[in-house]
């Protein structure tokens, strides 16, 4: 006998989105969360792109617990002490229907799980799914760490985040090598609201998102700075194998980023409230597990659906998109009384026809490209060098032509035109 129609494991964005769809379709759904409350175990950089919520929670911006609405997006290239920043400001993002918002995960995840509970989902916290229950090779529920903790359901949706133990146990996860993962580390630094407003040149609820390349020394990766209401998040995303092989520790690399002349003035004098770390399924499309099994669907980070493509680090929206699709596919399968892999196959089709797999497929080379030597070292060094040569006035020497400056800088940094063109074309193919 089943306890529920569906058990969703993990009350992160993916799990809550799945539970919302199922509960609204009138299905009994149990949302299991190992933390004492949704979001209590979760960390991320800080920006949620809410467009995907439009259909799930109309006018979500009136309810969602927001720190600031992002109205400035900057991309910064760092080389030694230099920095080149491309800064885009759009006050339009500061009004409905908005674009991105900084929000804290304990607030955001608890809010979204609350929407699921209001729709009728049963949220059970402080409970870890420890394994799958199978019958005849088919998943029919989960075991939990509570006494008498088995929960039976014809469909289990694994939304248990990166490194999903459930997907692994189901034999759906072939790509578990460390080369597919990065680790994100972050400090949350308290600063008075008016100091943040002044340093980041914003007003009221406006916020800033800065993505940084070239700030991770010998470890491939990137950095970020996000503004909350009265704190600033500063963090790094770092290649796991390179970290393991080299002498640098993440906290030391983060200290160096905070001391960089382009970042120090933004954070100095603040008080570190929190240091946190979390693994990211960096390789995206190339590491995705099987998404559908007999009685089981995998969504969100558990299915490596975080998009880590240099200028974009988006996971929450992909988790919500895939979780909601899993919820709808499970509803359909239950209506037909077929929770086999074939019955649940609509899940993959929904993802293919929507942004989740479309974006991932198009950008499947992006993680590799961004983590490559040219993007990590060459691009920041050449870009900063070119700026230096362009804007240093060397009278009585005459000015040099831009082409010559670029060629000189490429040579000085050991970059051959052939390699640059090849990588450039790859970038155009990937991002174009």
């Amino acid at each position: 006998m089943s306890d529920f129609d569906v058990v969703v494991v993990g009350a992160g964005p993916a799990g809550s989105a799945a539970a919302i769809e199922l509960a609204r379709a009138g299905r009994s759904v149990c949302l299991l969360e190992r933390g004492p409350s949704p979001g209590s175990k979760n960390m991320y950089g800080g920006v949620v792109y809410g467009r995907i919520l439009d259909t799930l929670v109309p006018a979500w911006w009136e309810q969602v617990p927001v720190q600031r609405w992002v109205t400035r997006r900057s991309t910064m290239l760092i080389h030694d002490e230099q920095a080149l920043t491309v800064d885009f400001r759009n006050p339009g993002w500061g009004a409905a229907p908005f674009n991105g918002a900084t929000t804290f995960r304990p607030d955001f995840d608890a809010w979204l799980a609350g929407v699921a509970v209001d729709a009728g989902a049963v949220l059970v916290c402080s409970t870890t799914a420890t394994g799958l229950i199978r019958e005849g090779g088919r998943v029919v529920g989960v075991r939990t760490d509570r006494p008498d903790g088995d929960l039976r359901a014809p469909v289990v949706i694994a939304c248990d985040g990166v490194n999903s133990f459930l997907a692994k146990e189901a034999g759906m996860y072939p790509h578990t090598g460390a080369e597919n993962f990065t680790v994100g580390v972050k400090e949350t630094i308290a600063l008075p609201r008016e100091v943040i407003d002044e340093r980041f040149a914003v007003r009221g609820d406006e916020g800033v998102d800065i993505e940084i390349l070239g700030c991770t020394g010998d470890v491939p990766g990137g950095g970020f700075v996000y503004t909350n209401a009265t704190s600033v998040a500063v963090g790094l995303v770092l290649s796991l194998p390179a970290l393991a092989a080299g002498p640098d520790r993440p906290e030391e690399l983060l200290r160096r980023l905070k001391a960089h002349p382009a970042v120090a003035p933004l954070v100095e004098g603040g008080e570190v409230l929190e240091y946190s770390a979390h693994v990211i399924p960096e390789a995206g499309y190339r590491m995705m597990p099987e998404l559908v099994g007999d009685g089981i669907l995998v969504a969100g980070d558990a299915a490596a659906m975080c998009l880590a493509a240099g200028i974009w680090l988006e996971g929450v929206n992909f988790a919500i998109g895939s979780g909601a699709a899993a919820g709808r596919a499970a509803t359909r399968a239950l209506a037909r009384g077929d929770a086999s892999a074939a019955g649940l196959a609509a899940y993959r089709e929904m993802l293919e026809s929507g942004f989740v797999l479309a974006d991932h497929r198009r950008l499947r080379d992006a993680p590799h490209l961004v983590m490559g030597d040219l993007a990590q070292r060459g691009l920041p060094a050449v870009a900063c060098g070119v700026m230096e040569d362009l804007f240093t006035v060397r009278n009585p020497e005459p000015k040099q032509g831009v082409r010559r400056i670029v060629r000189n800088r490429m040579r000085r940094n050991g970059i051959r035109v052939r390699d640059a063109v090849r990588e450039g074309l790859r970038a155009v193919r990937t991002f174009g």
Binding site: V122, T127, D145, P147, D148, G149
Partner: protein
Amino acid sequence: MLVAACVKLVDLRPQVDRVSGAVTPSATPGCSAADRAAVELALTLADSWSASSAVVCCGPAAADPVLREFAASGAGRLVRLDVDGAPDSSIVGRLLAGVLGDLGADVVVCGDYSTDRGSGSVPAWVADGLGAAQALGLVQVRSEGVGSLRATRRLDGGRRERLVVDAPCVVSVEGSLAELRRAPLAAALAARDLPIEVVDAPGVVVPAPLATRPWVPPTRVQPAPTGSAALERVVELTGALVERTPPRTVELPPRQAAELILEQLRTWGYLDADDSTPGGTAAT
């Protein structure tokens, strides 16, 4: 025989501004570790004595989900005295004693003090209201047979006091005494809709929350320094080279010690001659 635990709903993660002392509430209500230890002890005692158990809370409806967690862990009855806000400890103690008396509680277990600036006096008021024995601030409790407890209490200087307490009694325990057992999954699911007995508490006066701010000694009027050179004036202002009264250590019984401190504060000008509270502002 009935073993009852008393718990209070508190904010588990309020943010306290270190400079102003201002408290920003969080969205994390719950019971303190000491209260959870109290429930565990009550359940353990009830199990070993084949007695019934109850959890009683004096608080708002927001406490209901937390109370249901205790039911999932095995508590027999859940009773909530419907009070919003934070009445004085003596009132809470009297109200709880009334309910516990009606329930017929023989042994009452409380947390040692609540984490929201609790005074730790509620258990004493409950004991007084019930006319029961009391043993407060316990770090260890063992059953010595039905209705009898052998307990260890923390004293100053790392010492311990061992006590034997018999029902009817009220004990309060530290959070380290026990960890609340994990509720079976089926019980946790079943407890979600469990009814809670709500007892009205009409006419309870809830004082406005204390407005607190850091205590700052009142300023005293100082004559301007008279020296002609800047250095002289600074030395005069700081009193650096002035002969001073050396600190002295006195050992006195508490009453005389307090009088001496007040006398000294009057001498330094921090207290008026007829004032017995420091400064007269924001006195705590």
